[in-house]
């Protein structure tokens, strides 16, 4: 069963073990530059709010309602990272799949039910404390950056040529009870509006700048995971205009300010503000173009087309 507890998605499997639980949080952060350098982890700016999608069913497209899950307001061009949290001192091991637009963020393969080891399409917690982006090479990820579907930036559009799904997809499988017991892992101990804009483009995630981050290999092996028990959740993302349209209020969070970027020693670019105005890495992910690259490519194509137009008699 999946619940929202304090803006955290909590997956519980009481039928497997009393402590079989895993928490997933989506945190706001600053965008690191889309250049050829690799950056350290950027600061954390608090959690993104999460709401039951069904609460806004009468204002959402039928397709979104069909998917169920939760809805999360996120400003366009804002960056996020995923924290795998432990409510208990020593969390129960779980295998967690993360996808955007139904493309696995670990392997780059299309979403499929269940776990695979070659290529590994999940992370193991505890062990993997967080995930900041797409695993594009060993020790390197490209940051998760929110962009509208339809502009060609998202991973889904770059790899499948279509922007159909968008959003974020999560699936969790707990460790098999007998494996957990045989490993004698420590028993977890409980520590106790303006005019409303029409709803149009859905949001997806695109690859941003490069960051150093290890995605760890599964040390337990595929057989350790209880694939008969699991939970999954579709996280629909809404930019500020969409959030106003569906919730009737401004998003609870504000996009990071120029000052916050300066404080972190990171450059700030005008296109970051669009919303205010209006393992070895997966082979398929390695060739992704960052948002900056797709913007540059789009501008180059537009310039070329403009040149062609001018060349017409």
């Amino acid at each position: 069963m999946i619940t929202i507890v304090g803006d955290r998605l909590t997956f519980r499997f009481p039928e497997v073990h009393r402590f079989a639980e895993s928490g997933i949080e989506f945190h706001r952060t600053l965008r690191i530059p889309d250049d050829k350098r690799t950056y350290p982890l950027p600061p954390r700016l608090g959690r993104f709010p999460l709401r039951h999608l069904d609460d806004f069913a009468d204002r959402l497209p039928r397709e979104s309602v069909r998917r169920g899950g939760v809805v999360m307001p996120i400003h366009q061009a804002e960056a996020l990272w995923i924290k795998f949290s432990d409510r208990f001192g020593s969390p129960y091991p779980c295998a967690i799949k993360v996808a955007t637009g139904k493309v696995c963020a670990i392997s780059g393969e299309p979403w499929q039910e269940g776990l695979t080891q070659d290529p590994q399409n999940y992370v193991v917690v505890p062990g993997q404390p967080w995930l900041d982006g797409y695993c594009v090479a060993k020790g390197t990820i490209r940051q998760f950056v929110a962009m509208p579907l339809g502009d060609g930036h998202t991973v889904e559009e770059q790899l499948t040529g279509q922007g159909v799904h968008g959003g974020l997809q999560i699936a969790v499988h707990p460790m098999k009870r007998d494996v957990h017991e045989s490993l004698r892992l420590p028993e977890p101990c409980l520590v106790l509006r303006e005019e409303l804009a029409p709803y149009h483009h859905e949001m997806g995630l695109a690859p941003g700048g490069r960051m150093s981050q290890e995605i760890y290999e599964d040390a337990f092996g595929l057989d350790a995971w209880d694939q008969d028990h699991g939970g999954r959740c579709f996280v629909t993302m809404a930019n500020s205009q969409q959030w106003m349209a569906i919730a009737g209020e401004r998003p609870p969070t504000q996009p990071p300010t120029v000052r916050e970027y300066a404080k972190a020693g990171l450059p700030w670019f005008l296109h970051y503000d669009r919303d205010r105005k209006a393992l070895a890495g997966g082979e398929r992910l390695a060739g992704l173009r960052s948002v900056a690259e797709t913007v540059r490519r789009g501008e180059a194509m537009a310039a070329r087309e403009e040149g062609t137009e001018r060349g017409k008699p």
Binding site: M1, I2, P14, R44, G68, G69
Partner: protein, 117 residues
């Protein structure tokens, strides 16, 4: 040493092992207290701080705010407000669920619906 202080120190030191921003001095500055005061809290030489400071500390350390408040011997003011608005209903509910296993409690919790995707 108090459990609240011990736990705070454990989590902060664990974070500091990989990120120097979690030094006692820097964490104290970010949550708006003196480093000496945070040190006393961690050593159990001072009682857990106010609800607001405890919540800032929980957020800073990435911990569950309710669990952190409980360790500090407090219940969050929003929960108190919920009970004060409908005291009989919520008092009865909490007492009835007091000894129930977690699975039973989960049955009264709202579950995220998984759809077709």
């Amino acid at each position: 040493m108090s459990r609240f202080g011990t736990r705070t120190r454990q989590i902060r030191e664990r974070l500091r092992a990989s990120d120097r921003r979690y030094s006692l001095r820097q964490v104290a500055r970010r949550i708006g207290v003196e480093p000496a005061y945070l040190s006393k809290i961690e050593r159990g030489a001072a009682a857990p701080p106010s609800e607001a400071t405890t919540l800032r500390l929980a957020a800073e350390l990435g911990e569950d705010p309710d669990v952190f408040l409980a360790m500090a011997g407090k219940v969050s003011s929003d929960l108190q407000e919920i009970i004060r608005k409908r005291p009989k209903l919520f008092a009865d509910l909490i007492r009835q669920l007091r000894d129930a296993p977690d699975e039973a409690i989960f049955t009264v919790v709202r579950v995220v619906r998984d759809g077709d995707w």
